[in-house]
Amino acid sequence: MEIVYVYTKKRSEFGRQCNFSDRPAELHVDILPDTSLAANFTVRDPCNVTVQCAEEMSEHEVNTERFESESRGVNHVEGGWPKDLNPEDMEATIRYRKKVEKDEHYQNTIMQIAGLMEHCCKQNNATDIYQEFFEDEDEEVMEESEEQPSAKTINVFRDPNEVKRTATSLSWHPDGNHKLAVAYSSVEFQRAPNDTSFDSYIWDIENPNKPEMTLKPVSPLVCLEYNPKDSHILVGGSYNGQIAYWDTRKGSQPVEMSTIEHSHRDPVYKVIWLQSKTGTDIFSASTDGQVLWWDIRKMSEPTERLVLDPSKKGNLDSALGAVSLEFETTMPTKFMVGTEQGLVVSCNRKAKTPAEKIVCTYSGHHGPIYALQRNPLFPKNFLTVADWTARIWSEDIKESSIMWTKYHMAHLLDGCWSPVRPSVFFTVKMDGTLDVWDILFKQNDPTLSLKVCDEALYSIRVQDNGRFLGCGSQLGTTTLMEISAGLCTLQKNEKALVSEKVQIQHLFERDIYF
């Protein structure tokens, strides 16, 4: 049933002001009840009604503002001398002391408490009550318990700036692992507002409130690495292609930077310290298609240059852009480069001609290779993380990887092996999850999958002890996590089992292609 009301207005009157006036109500429609409709309904009997006689309460959550606390100490310089005594006056103080010493009460008290003290001192020398007595037993108990793999967050370090940048690279301090250097930069081209800070920070893992040290580069750092031989030196690759190095004893400004003319033309995505007698050699890779070698003592120009041209002609225009580098100190003549195009290029440092430098390529990925690392215990096998998968390769088979994960729903952005367990590796994804994989346990799914944050995780680095790891997110939040003992203790026969598994996969793939 349609109810329509029509009013007319002459066209010549359009645009005139509205003159409102009152008029009595007009009845337009009167709809009477239709009793036949009642037949569609029945009376509900009984009715269930809930009634509660209780106080109404509501729940509220409040998050207080970040409380900045600082530790301060007070230095107590002099004891509580009596008012009439000048503490500077040596004679007066000595006289006072002598007076106390002659006091009978003092003498009696001291004799009493000294006796007790002597007893305890001698006791300390007799037995060490804090000695570990049942060390062996503890170990046995550990092996038997089958704990669920787990990881917990220990600390969260947030980018202190208003405009958050992505934590693109993490590096653990080489001695003791108490500090974490994080490089911050904005990965999206020209998306960052003009006043975005360029600073990167070194955090003390015990203090998430304030970074321990600030590094001030000329252009935001995309990658940052501690020198494994000298823990005061760090090298960073920046967004504008320059390389800079810092000495933490000398302050926030870089000690030296590479000259713009000889640096990369694109952001430097990875920089690695090489093994050398001087401990000052590094090499860097960038999407401009070059891999450059530097000696940090002389940053005016690189010591060597390699163009990643797969046709081996050294042509920069057809070069592949590099996004990751790999170097193992146990194999110093070889290194690998992960490219934007999805190829892994294996190179030989010692080759005489540039053409011979590029040895071979491994194909299989569909997108830039964000992470590339050899297995610490089985260096012939390496892990690549790109597109939606992580793959494990055997050096000898170039056409395909020997093991790979399923295709995930989100891109994988970084990954690394566990330094202590050859079968464990970690990956982080664009949806903010961290996955821990154990190739002996399950190949299709991660052994442990955790949602660390809501934004993408861009970087991950595991400490040398394999127990702690840091992962950096798109909003500059670095999360320090501790994984359960089971995931970082070498299991019985693990090396042999991994070796066997890798061998089987290797033979399987090889047989497909040969």
């Binding site: 230095n75 310089v77 509580g80 009596p82 009978e104 003498q107 001291i110 002597e118």
Partner: protein, 101 residues
């Protein structure tokens, strides 16, 4: 013994200082004035101030639990050494010892 009380005290403190592993001995009064010490002044004053406060806290803890009770000895074991405080209402005897391994 035939020694005067003064000498006895001296003797006892010397003996404690001579025990294997003892790094320093300090006697402090309730005001925080070091009466006798084998360490340098700034270290002594630091130990005296800090341990006096800790001892007061420990004593009040013991007495809160049981008013009849009182603190007699406090031992702080750290990674590097052990700090022992023997207390009385008015004086503190502090000994830092590195126990023989």
């Amino acid at each position: 013994s035939t020694l005067t009380p003064f000498a006895e005290v001296e003797d006892t403190l010397k003996r404690i200082q001579g025990i294997n592993g003892v790094i320093g001995t300090i006697v402090v009064n309730a005001e925080g004035i070091p009466i006798k010490t084998t360490l340098d002044n700034s270290t002594t004053v630091q130990y005296a101030g800090l341990l006096h406060q800790l001892t007061m806290k420990a004593r009040s803890t013991v007495r809160d639990i049981d008013p009849q009770n009182d603190l007699t000895f406090l031992r702080i074991r750290s990674k590097k050494h052990e700090i022992m405080v023997s207390t009385d209402k008015e004086y503190l005897l502090i000994v830092i010892q590195n126990p023989a391994e």
